[in-house]
Symmetry: D2
Subunit: 181 residues, 4 copies
């Protein structure tokens, strides 16, 4: 049974109805922000994210980092988020995800998700994402995403989108391999 909703005959008037005073607005920070080429967003851990071990369930980190990727594209105006609407079909789909879990996140934690573009090829995009709590890294992920058309077929990244992503491409410095443990 599908789950959705059809329009009501009349507008309900809940107890929580808006007053006549100016209503609150969504905060400017709702989609995070760019810290140079790195997208940064904070999220709270709620009950829904945790499991019976008292920690965030491992699959839910993939939700956190997907929100961050989507908001990075939103702030950069890519694909569905393109301001003039000309590139709505520039859709990226995840082809591979490697995720490491270093320390658990728990209920009420405030997490900081940092996302950077680490690779850009003809039809694929590579990102590195990290989940921090109070400056300590809890998890890191490497994502390979492919550009597809509206039918899901692989396609080249358009010049317009490429240009925007190019600005985010982080210069890779020699570093200790995170995953060589």
């Amino acid at each position: 049974m599908s789950e959705a909703a059809a329009p009501p005959k009349k507008q309900p008037s809940p107890q929580t109805a808006k007053t006549e005073t100016l209503p609150p607005k969504p905060p400017d920070t709702l989609s995070g922000a760019m810290d140079g080429p790195i997208h940064v967003i904070f999220m709270r851990v709620y009950y829904e994210d945790t499991d019976a071990l008292g920690m965030v369930y491992y699959a839910n980190y993939l939700k956190f980092i997907e929100r961050a990727r989507t908001d990075m594209l939103r702030l950069t105006g890519i694909g569905r988020h393109d301001p003039d609407g000309s590139e709505r079909e520039g859709l990226f789909v995840v082809r591979r995800c490697t995720i490491d879990y270093f320390a658990p996140a728990r209920l009420d934690d405030v997490l900081e998700i940092r996302t950077s573009v680490t690779g850009l090829r003809a039809a694929t995009l590579e990102l590195e994402q990290a989940v921090y709590r109070a400056g300590k890294v809890l998890s890191t992920a490497q994502i390979r995403a492919a550009c597809v058309d509206s039918a899901g077929r692989p396609r080249k990244i358009s010049p317009k989108i490429r240009q925007k992503l190019q600005h985010l491409l982080t210069k890779i410095q020699p570093k200790a391999d995170v995953n060589a443990r």
Copy 2:
């Protein structure tokens, strides 16, 4: 960033590749079964369903009962599950759900979901669902669903679907009101 997958260039050969022996088949019980007019299906509680209190998170009961409703329609051949495909647009969407929580389900529990049709009008359907563990009721829900067309607009339930649902309509016996607590 949307999450999907495009076709690979070649079929991978995982370690878990199928052997040449006859492969296992999905069990006949995958969609539950009808116990007279009542649909019955068993489900396991996994980590994903629980939260930091060690119990099933309250929203996840709505997932359990939606699986059950969908499987009831599947077994009854309604809408998208119609064998001759003529009624694919008979879609039901939830307009109201009232759910009571009597006792918590926990990790590894085997739950039994029982679903019955309790009302049938021109364009809406009413169901009662209950979640049991070892014969004890943990939760009950009353669902009102509306029939909609493919654009989400309310429509009458077609005669074909109505006939199938009519067979499931449970005669309501006088009973103690579950919710009169």
Copy 3:
């Protein structure tokens, strides 16, 4: 197989490592805000929230409103969120939820969740919650929650918590019944 993480031997240095410049801080709005006695918080709809019908899956509204309730308790300093830690056992669990779906939320929507306390008895709390998009109500819910101790047994709401909740109790005005459709 349980899903968690043990501490790594050394701290990884992801590409997204913090720079030496002052790091961004979580926004003040992370937990929403009080609009008089009503808690208000904005949330974005992500892919994880939607389903194959292109709309927010019905159970996920229960996630949205639980986040809002938790943040209302957080801002009010109740139970686990009590500043001096003396009331950590004042836990509220949902006993009944009635939710109506008037119109669907979709991908990328910004939702406004408004929560008000509508009833307060010896051991139970009643709330009304509404989900808006651009001033239009999409869904409303009535919640009855019971106070329990750390073993999950019903207990009276403590005087300290009661006092805080009393301040939030919305005077109920005569109004058209939302659900008398």
Copy 4:
């Protein structure tokens, strides 16, 4: 606000109450089955698993494969599932997951999850998992899990658990590297 449930004063009598006839039992296949050393389980794709692109959301594959791993441990009697209860603390937590997405799963699909043990060291376990639909592989994952004690600290795999896992250890044959694409 935490989400759980306290015991009701009296047992409700839902419309779906059990009849006096023999009730249905959970199917023997609820936890899947062993196909030699490989665990096999079938799962249905429901609305909750899909997203607005009409496909299974990428994080939900991690739910599917976690269910399969848990059921493999259940059938093998490991840790929490040990029949004599002596090894309840043998808990495995995921330290790394690499997942590839080859083709999307969709609503109503019946998926077959195959899980094999591919590595066994002093304190870690390696598994390979694959998601099939009608014999076609949609996704594969490599999992590294660490054994931890009840406080989450790394510990050696006990001899008893090791022996059980040893029986599942799949001999690795030379094969084309799945991931060398």
